[in-house]
Point group: C2
Chain length 473, copies 2
């Protein structure tokens, strides 16, 4: 029946294989109890564990990412939680509430409605390597794979807070994890009115793609804040405190901010007031996109090539705002052509209300969009042969469009200028280069341009414009 499509019409998790082996590098770290996938690219040496998948592997998995390739952002050691202790995992709801709560995971499962829905998480540092090429930031070098999507199962956060009864002065929801760090437990906050808004879909999750959360993703309980940067989705949740001011946790203050571009690393160190200005805290993701194919260093033989090459990638918006167009240029932004967008998230809406992973999947009423979309466009190979680069930009439903210019900042976060790959012609081949490669991996056109003395911030990707003074574009 048309009004009730087969659930199989929406994406189900890709094949997964739960890692069982602790990798050699992890054996001497506090994470010696965490089995992991060897394909992940480590961005901060061996420990703490901060990783992204190779971009092609991520894209090839499709709309949903397997937990073993899902990006990880850990500030320190992963809390060790034995399976038999999971039901007794305890967290509290306190602060400006009439009815403070102490809940075990067992109670959370027994006493609250369970929901399942697909949510894309993105690290605020996604694409930071590009910023580091321009000028070193205080952050490590994410490529463009600091983004992943899963079906999360858990409880609507508002349901828990309603039972705790926030008082009239209550404005913020502070959250703290079990990960003990040099500056205390990791913690941050969001606005209470956001948590109470059903369209924002904030939840406490204990499952990911139908299985228990894995250690790196917050086992046994985490917050999931859709549409906002991953840094707000506290893992290993232990404490919720309702307050009238934003979190004063060290990580809330000194992480996940976009300071004004004029603030240098030195200035930010000398004047801590910059960090205390809540206006610079990041919540919503910004509109972003990247090209997955052509992949970095992919080569296309133009002899006997098919008529078209299919350029493909991902895009996402922030705050539940949908990506409404993705545009590609092969003439340096002079003209743009419209890509096709596949919003797999809509297929869950169309599926009606039903059960998935022992919980209710009902997105029929939800009008916000919290997942990435995939886009593609067929470009004639004859035109690619004459092109020097491929640019992509997305726009969201509020008409926020990715800009040409990078907004460089001390922490290098929210990097979202047009994603650009270059094309070079070598004999019968077109060779494609992405802007960077993650972590300390060499490669990418930005490194090449920089080494050649180009000014990456001149509005033309550091290209020499004939006769232009290198320092005065």
């Amino acid at each position: 029946e048309a009004s009730c499509p087969d659930p199989a019409d929406y994406p189900l998790p890709p094949p997964t294989s739960i890692p069982t082996k602790v990798l050699d590098p992890d054996k001497k770290t506090p994470d010696h109890h965490v089995p992991r996938d060897p394909r992940l690219i480590r961005l901060t040496g061996v420990h703490p564990f901060n990783v992204e998948a190779p971009l092609s592997d991520l894209y090839n998995e499709g709309f949903l990412t397997s937990p073993e390739l899902f990006y990880v952002r850990n500030h320190g050691a992963v809390p060790e939680v034995k399976d038999e202790d999971i039901p007794d995992w305890e967290f509290t709801v306190e602060g400006l509430v009439e009815n403070p709560l102490k809940l075990t995971l067992r109670e959370l499962l027994a006493e609250y409605d369970q929901i399942t829905c697909p949510i894309t998480l993105v690290c605020a540092g996604n694409r930071r390597k590009e910023q580091n090429q321009v000028r070193k930031t205080k952050g490590f070098s994410w490529g463009a794979a600091g983004v992943s999507t899963a079906l999360f199962t858990g409880v609507v956060m508002a349901d828990v807070l309603k039972r705790a009864k926030p008082t009239k002065r209550a404005r913020y929801v502070c959250m703290e994890g079990a990960d003990k760090l040099p500056n205390g437990y990791y913690g941050t906050s969001v606005k209470l009115n956001w948590v109470m808004d059903p369209e924002r879909g904030m939840m406490l999750a204990h499952m990911m793609n139908g299985e228990m959360l894995r250690p790196d993703h917050g086992k046994p309980l985490r917050v999931v804040i859709p549409g906002q940067i991953g840094g707000r989705s506290v893992k290993w949740l232990k404490k919720i405190t309702i307050t009238d001011v934003p979190s004063d946790n060290w990580y809330h203050i000194y992480d996940n901010r976009v300071l004004p571009t004029s603030v240098s690393p030195e200035e930010s160190a000398n004047n801590p007031a910059w960090w205390r200005d809540e206006r610079y805290a990041i919540y919503d993701l910004s509109t972003n996109s990247a090209i997955a194919y052509p992949a970095h260093e992919e080569q296309l033989c133009v002899v006997g090539a098919p008529e078209n090459y299919r350029v493909k990638g991902y895009a996402y918006g922030g705050g539940g705002r949908r990506v409404t167009r993705v545009e590609v240029s092969i003439d340096k932004g002079k003209t743009w052509r419209l890509g096709k967008i596949d919003y797999a998230e809509d297929r869950y809406r169309e599926a009606g209300e039903h059960q998935l992973f022992g919980a209710t999947l009902d997105m029929t009423w939800r009008e916000s969009s919290f997942c990435w979309c995939f886009w593609n466009i067929d470009v004639p190979v004859a035109e690619l042969k004459d092109a020097k680069d491929i640019l992509v930009r997305a726009m969201d439903e509020s008409m926020n469009v990715q800009p040409r210019d990078m907004y460089w900042s001390v922490l290098g976060m929210m990097n979202n200028p047009w994603y650009r790959i270059t094309i070079s012609h070598e004999n019968d081949y077109l060779r494609f280069e992405h802007p960077t490669q993650p972590a300390l991996m060499p490669g990418g056109w930005m490194e090449r341009v920089k080494n050649a003395g180009g000014n990456l911030m001149n509005g033309y990707w550091g290209e020499k414009i004939d006769g232009e003074d290198a320092e005065q574009p």
Copy 2:
């Protein structure tokens, strides 16, 4: 007492003088009954009445705009409503509701709570003249004064809809005015979930700055949709229809859209499908800003000048999102300096709950921001002497920043690239030029650059870069 500041701490309406004279040009039009202010700049000839104030006059009035300088966007003749008929003005709430309503303004005043709050309205065409300089759009030439702010008094729209009881299928709120036009009554729609969300503050207003609405602003009853383009705030409200699909009103389909930049006027005329794609409909405003001072053609004598010149202007965000920074560059975007922001809207929040204009002003609980802010920055005159231009850009709390590049589209709406004024040095004077002048008024650097053969879309405001091929930036 600190917790209850004097209401005088927030802006009250500027001095006003209600126009009593019908201007000569209006006497022969259907608007012969509407007295108006002669300072307003007409953008579409004599009739219909589409006007903005001179930018300096608008800015000088301060945070609140007098009704006589408040911009006007009329699609046709202003409905004539005699004062004695106002209490009997009738509108309906129908469609997907359990309890259809027919309400008079008298009943609306008697049976519903009345609120007052400051709201900035902006025409989607604000700054469109800049787009028309690049390539003629289907829209007329707004300067940068298609934006105004007033204290609106009326009823929370959700209160009315709750009484009508929308059914489960209800998703959209269609609104229709009394202005009969070639393609029917003006009408459009917004999402029902937005109307029901208190943080979005949508209202039915009958007063503006404490007085009855004037004819050009919807007398006696209009919708006010904060944070969205003015085109959604239907004037002379007659009908609300709850539906499961967006409005099919001609003006909802063929106006207030940003089609992809690749769609030419011809293509949009040949393929009506472009207009039927709801993804291209504009709702939220986008982040925008403009410089008010230096004014267009202002001259600054550098001999004996004070040490600093204070650059000033306005900025606004969309969808209730606050402007969190305004940055100014005098070196073509290479470096930016941070402006000071005055958010007068906050002073109403701080004033606590009280009565204003016979209604409740209570913004203590509201966390969204629906008004423009003013910004300023002191720039040393010695540095201005060496500068060629002044650029400004704003960023909102979701880190949406105004882009360098114009997004040209068929209707020329939502124009929000960096606002730029040029500086020329003539003897002992610095002369400033804005990008354009509204309507058909000549002047502005864009016209000058275009006449000199510059490509306004080359990423450098059409400036010749030495050695650059004019057609291949």
